[in-house]
Symmetry: none
Subunit: 196 residues, 4 copies
């Protein structure tokens, strides 16, 4: 996949990276309507070069999204590894979500741009899903994570996070949402209207 028949030329590699950086920041700044010419200019290359690396705009956005999901995977696997070695799976799950919304801030517009362009959305990465699934199972076994939590729940929360908001808003969002992942949350009766 990432291997090439021939190694790419050094300048081509550099240009590809610069284009991806430029695309990420331009899309983050101007939304899905960021122009290819502007992305190219921001990358310091001509449009033709951009198109040599990414034949269509959809391809370019897909590549940016892929970079982002790769980050998710790395975070998920690291969280699982820590939970295995040090225990505390709920803590790791919490930390994973906080970390995700942190790194996602720059990628928000990218994420919202993706569906509009027909690109596979965030959350298709099976390696990330496997790691999260195992992490949740550890938490449920430990009795700290609510027993009906699924990987899809995590993805839904990530997709619904206010990633484009300032850090304070995102932190507050986490404070409101994270309790819902704990074992105790499942026991709350919202209709009881009693202080518990």
């Amino acid at each position: 996949m990432t291997s090439q028949q021939r190694p790419m030329r050094a300048d081509a590699v550099r240009n590809r990276a610069r284009i991806l950086d430029a695309a990420r920041s331009q899309i983050a700044e101007h939304g899905p309507d960021a122009g290819m010419d502007e992305i190219a200019a921001a990358a310091g290359v001509a449009v033709g070069t951009l198109y040599r690396h990414f034949p269509t705009k959809t391809d370019l956005v897909a590549a940016v999204v892929a970079e982002y999901t790769e980050q998710l995977t790395v975070e998920a696997q690291a969280a699982l590894a820590r939970a295995k070695s040090q225990g505390r799976p709920l803590h790791e799950l919490t930390r994973f979500l906080l970390e995700v919304i942190r790194v996602s801030a720059m990628n928000e517009a990218v994420k919202s741009a993706a569906p509009a362009l027909g690109t596979a959305s965030v959350g298709d990465d099976t390696r990330a899903a496997a790691a999260l699934s195992e992490l949740i199972a550890l938490g449920i076994d430990a009795g700290t994570v609510r027993s009906d939590l699924t990987v899809d729940d995590i993805y839904a929360l990530v997709l619904a996070a206010p990633l484009d908001q300032p850090d304070a808003v995102r932190q507050r969002w986490a404070q409101l949402v994270l309790p819902g992942l704990t074992a105790i949350a499942a026991t709350i009766d919202l209709d009881a209207e009693s202080p518990l």
Copy 2:
């Protein structure tokens, strides 16, 4: 704001309503890129007429969003009224959020379109804010709603709801998120890693 210098002519009123309906459905269907010509055609008027009522596309989208926030206001005031007459503020708050995500489903694309166009976002309606503020206060007094909850929290959650997802996803989201609004949620120590 909603008052006019002169009463609008009957046909102008009708045209305005038809344009708003058309705009809502076109934006919902085709996203923020719905064209002014298509909206005009769907409304059964010419573009020129559309521009007489809404000088720019941004104005049109703002009007659609305003219609939506008006709905929020109505819901919030009804919830407050019920809480006052029947008690159970947490229940009403919960019900409000569920209702909001229900009516919002049709408006999701509209909401996502708004920021892209520089329109003031959902949540600026002071009447809704007043009602919610009072409702939250009732709940805190009753000891069922978490004591640090604010109106902005509610707006943040609404903005972060997966409104464009199927009903099942939205219901699940509510199950995960609503516990975070209760008094007990504030007592959970996410780092304790104990079953509580």
Copy 3:
């Protein structure tokens, strides 16, 4: 076909005509690669106006070609009418071909552009075909036109005429080719190598 639901606005009619004129001359001058912007500029309108009248370049070229085939039809029908009233069908056929190559000179590049753009080619007009068919029949009956001549032969010759050449070349071409349409031509034995 040429009727409209509503009569076009006067300026729209004028613009359509100017666009067709400009398209004909630009395509004649620069070949099928004449740019839409240049055509629009030559017509004194903006590109958008051009696209309002002709949604794609193919449509524009098709319209230019249609104008040309309409001319062919008129010529063919006039030739038939004269042959009926005055006799001399071979003379009329000859005159038709000469007239066609005369009016075609300006349209040559257009004709060559048409196939390249997927437009139906010259020669699809059934009214012209009907008139020519009848004209040929008259000539064969009179014993002056070769008895195996068909309408397709005429079209083939028109398509093969050196329309883009100067008038002298086209006249010479006619001198060489027209004898082949006569009854006597069919009697020539090219292999006999005798003076006849």
Copy 4:
């Protein structure tokens, strides 16, 4: 012209031939818009190599056309040689034209591409002209070829032949056109409207 200062390297010779073959087939298949990259790929070389041999696209097309005119020359000289040894110059002239339209079928797109690119057109080859001139003179002396026929007439006919049509159409075209080259054709009075 075809001589070189230094003999080309063996691989350069091979590359030049492969490029010309590729150019001929690509232009024949995709028309004048065949891309330099595609031609290079079809030739199995990189674009840079293509440009080393032919500094511009026009040069490349000119070379393809030159190859074609070389074929014409060979045919014309062979026809002349046969007419000298065996007599029957009209037969040879006829055969030459039939042969030309046969070999030209593959080159039609090339020919039509040439003018569009500003390349000198077919018919500049003086060796072919000399042979044809002599051949025509033989035919006039024999009394079988029309006495006013010139080499330019032949070229005009070749350029105007429906080379891109199926074989049947081209054969029919020959049947219609060849009589016009005979001595007898010059005697036909198109206006007489008599059966001769």
